[in-house]
């Protein structure tokens, strides 16, 4: 007799392996997300999902397309490169619907001080004041136009 007389056992076993492998492939096909592995070892669709997150800050380009008068005032002054929402807050909702969403009125007493309160930790060439000594409680906008704050540059009210 041949040494392969019991080979049938092996074939049946091999058959089981083949079936198990097919089952594995089918399950894998269902479980692994469709875009997984497109660019690397991750789900490519996640990129689009992250990019779809809503925007809260409209960006200064959006503000400037309507508020051209403010742009003109700002261009001359020290705050030319301070973007609108740095002081006015997140206003994408206002940019999308300018009539029904109105920005809140700002409180210059806290706002100006955030950047301009005197501290030896700030860079030396950055304009800083001791608020109590500088204005004694008089609101900043009494003398300074926040959009162009220098008094002698024609920016004052």
């Amino acid at each position: 007799m041949s040494v392969f007389k019991d080979a049938g056992h092996l074939f049946r076993f091999a058959g089981l392996f083949v079936i198990a492998f097919i089952v594995f492939l089918v399950i894998r096909g269902y479980v692994v997300p469709k875009t997984f592995g497109k660019y690397g070892h991750y789900r490519a669709a996640a990129i689009g999902e992250i990019a779809a997150h809503p925007i809260k800050y409209a960006g200064h380009q959006a503000c400037e397309s309507c508020h051209t008068d403010i742009v003109t005032v700002k261009q001359k002054g020290m705050h030319a490169h301070v973007n609108c929402e740095a002081c006015h807050g997140a206003l994408a909702a206002h940019a999308n619907d300018p009539t029904s969403v109105q920005p809140a009125k700002l409180d210059t007493a806290t706002l100006c001080i955030r950047c301009h309160s005197a501290s030896a930790a700030r860079p030396k060439d950055f304009p800083q004041v001791d608020a109590a000594e500088h204005s004694n409680g008089v609101p900043c906008e009494t003398c300074h136009n926040p959009h162009s704050p220098a008094i002698d540059a024609g920016g004052a009210k």
Binding site: A51, G89, R122
Partner: protein
């Protein structure tokens, strides 16, 4: 034009493959954005930072960052003349509400260091993820697939810059996305948009017209922990040697 059934059967799959490749490179929400045209990073100009905390607040608003966690934060360094390698570092509430004032004539020097995810080109955090939930996008931003993340926090441990945290409600890893939802629409990041002094600037290294190229040639620029070879893409101008 006459097409036989045979030709149609060949053409249909070919057209399907072609259409798939057209869709492939574009995230759905920004149809004019091509990932292969960009390689994002950020420039932080230390001498310009005034420690106002605008970036921290803007980031929290834009990205719904949970209270007590930070995608970006600002540290204030105090380096004494007598101990240059052991700076005193503070970051009260991430610098969100600014920093306590310092009286004149301080001992040594003070400066602010804004920190955020360094968007490493060879990031340790993406290498340790067991499920492929965090990755470097084709335009060089380290992102997290929060639907796929298990919340095992390996990446939180792996990040040498401490930029990751586990979101307290979602129970998955969270971090700076470099405002991916903004930069893919042609806007800058929330922190850069709201920095009043231009101390933070979004840079696109693949854009030959980006001023970063000239800046890198003419300034003394470093990345954080260069010895770790992370390929960090957040560039610090005039960074003090005491910063870690």
């Amino acid at each position: 034009m006459n097409i036989t059934r045979r030709q149609l059967l060949i053409l249909l799959p070919a057209a399907a493959v072609a259409w798939e490749s057209v869709l492939a490179a574009t995230p759905e929400s920004s149809p004019n954005y091509n990932m292969t045209d960009h390689w994002w990073g950020m420039l932080i100009d230390i001498p310009k930072c005034i420690g106002c905390g605008n970036c921290v607040r803007a980031c929290a608003t834009e990205n719904d960052v949970p209270e007590g966690h930070f995608r970006t934060w600002v540290e204030r360094y105090h380096v004494s003349d007598w101990n240059l390698t052991n700076p005193e570092v503070i970051s009260p509430d991430g610098g969100k509400e600014g920093f306590p004032a310092v009286k004149d004539d301080p001992d040594g020097k003070y400066f602010f260091v804004p920190k955020l995810c360094n968007q490493c080109a060879d990031s340790p955090c993406t290498q340790v993820c067991p499920v492929g939930a965090t990755f470097i996008s084709p335009d060089g931003v380290v992102l997290i697939d929060q639907k796929y993340c298990l919340g095992c926090a390996y990446c939180v441990q792996a990040c040498p810059y401490g930029c990751r945290y586990i979101h307290p409600e979602k129970k998955v890893a969270d971090k700076c996305t470099l405002c991916y939802h903004r930069i893919t629409k042609g806007l800058t990041t929330a922190c850069c948009e709201n920095c009043p002094t231009g101390a933070r600037q979004l840079v696109d290294l693949k854009n030959p017209k980006d001023p970063i190229h000239e800046f890198l040639k003419t300034h003394s620029v470093q990345v954080l922990k260069p010895q770790m070879a992370t390929g960090a893409k957040v560039f610090y101008n005039a960074l003090d040697g005491s910063v870690r």
